[in-house]
């Protein structure tokens, strides 16, 4: 619903902001559902590199996500009832 759409938009933006090798790894994995081996072939790097890039990409996404959530909560509209000034 609306929240999910916001989440999706945020995730898309955060993924777009990742440095290219990490973005590539996460897109090939999460969207195209490629195996590590296939990602390694497409990206032309060893499987170990794919593993570390995915781990790094997800760690970056997670911290960016947390940061964006904090700002959303502060500046976004109040969601709980009874908190209107």
């Amino acid at each position: 619903m609306i929240l999910q759409q916001q989440d999706s938009a945020t995730i898309r933006r955060l993924v777009a902001e990742l440095p290219a090798p990490f973005r590539e790894a996460i897109v090939l994995r999460e969207i195209n559902d490629l195996s590590y081996k296939d990602i390694a072939e497409v990206a032309g790097v060893p499987v170990g590199t794919v593993m570390s890039r995915l781990a790094r990409a997800r760690a970056m996404l997670r911290s960016a996500w947390n940061a964006s959530e904090n700002t959303t909560v502060r500046s976004g509209p109040a969601t709980a009832s009874g908190t209107a000034p």
């Binding site: 989440d7 898309r12 996460i26 999460e30 081996k37």
Partner: protein, 263 residues
């Protein structure tokens, strides 16, 4: 297993890329470590959101730029975006096949790259497997210097009967054997030691070693040798000095029993 070693494996677990043994190790660790359990839960949640379609609209641009970079030529209008963008591997590669000379060329160059990399990919993987084997408790599944114990242990675990050769007299001590995975396939790893140096000998039927002649290289500081003999591919990895490793290779190669089907 330490937490920082585990982090990469957490992702592999989420992505279903761990073999049963490693998955068990990770799960055992997570069961007793609340920090790693929290990490796993948060990454799982994120994986769920992304896999649930959150990324679908952005992906074509990334993929296309990636593929364009692969061909090193802009390829707009050649392949329909829709063809690129279904979340399965088949349709991803299927995208290349959508009729045009250029996309066929892309597909051909990709296959070529993949085949050429095969040997290098295996080389990287055997070195990773060697390093992994040096972690405490990972070196051996069957620990014995008796070759008649090690060899039958591989029965039913790998689809070849790897030659297990006792070289203790040549001061290469047989330590045991281990089941390992290279390129997603089970391979026999036979472990030897000279002084403080571990030697992993990987044996499987198709392991990217295409030459009867021994190929020598050095990867990440480890000496690697590989050759093909008697229908089997052999890879040796060690931090042992190159000339001593060559001696080892020569002893193994000359001791491998030759079958009638030797090529």
């Amino acid at each position: 297993m330490k937490c920082d070693e585990l982090e990469v494996l957490l992702h592999a677990l989420i992505d279903g890329e761990l073999d049963a043994g490693h998955a068990h190790d990770v799960e055992m660790h997570v069961a007793g470590c609340s920090a790693c359990a929290a990490q796993l839960a948060s990454y799982r949640a994120m994986h769920g959101v992304m896999g649930g379609g959150a990324l679908k609209e952005t992906a074509p641009a990334h993929l296309r730029s990636r593929i364009e970079a692969l061909v090193a030529a802009p390829a707009p209008r050649v392949v329909s975006m829709r063809g690129f963008f279904k979340p399965t591997r088949r349709s991803f590669f299927g995208g290349f096949a959508l009729g045009s000379a250029l996309s066929a060329a892309v597909a051909a160059s990709l296959v070529l790259t993949v085949i050429r990399r095969d040997e290098q990919a295996v080389a990287d993987e055997v070195v990773s497997a060697h390093i992994r084997s040096l972690q405490p408790g990972h070196l051996m599944d069957v620990a014995t210097s008796d070759q008649h114990t090690v060899k039958p242990w591989f029965n039913g675990r790998v689809d070849v009967a790897p030659p297990v050769i006792d070289l203790t007299a040549e001061s290469f001590t047989l330590l045991g054997g281990r089941l390992d995975y290279i390129d997603g396939e089970p391979v026999a790893a036979i472990v030897y030691q000279r002084r403080k140096h571990m030697i992993n000998l990987f044996v499987a039927q198709h392991l990217g070693a295409r030459h009867a002649r021994t190929v020598a290289e050095s990867i990440q500081g480890y000496n690697v040798r590989h050759w093909s003999q008697d229908g089997l591919d052999f890879w040796v990895v060690s931090d042992l000095a190159g000339d001593e490793l060559d001696e080892f290779v020569q002893k193994i190669a000359s001791a491998v029993p030759r079958s009638s089907s030797a090529s």
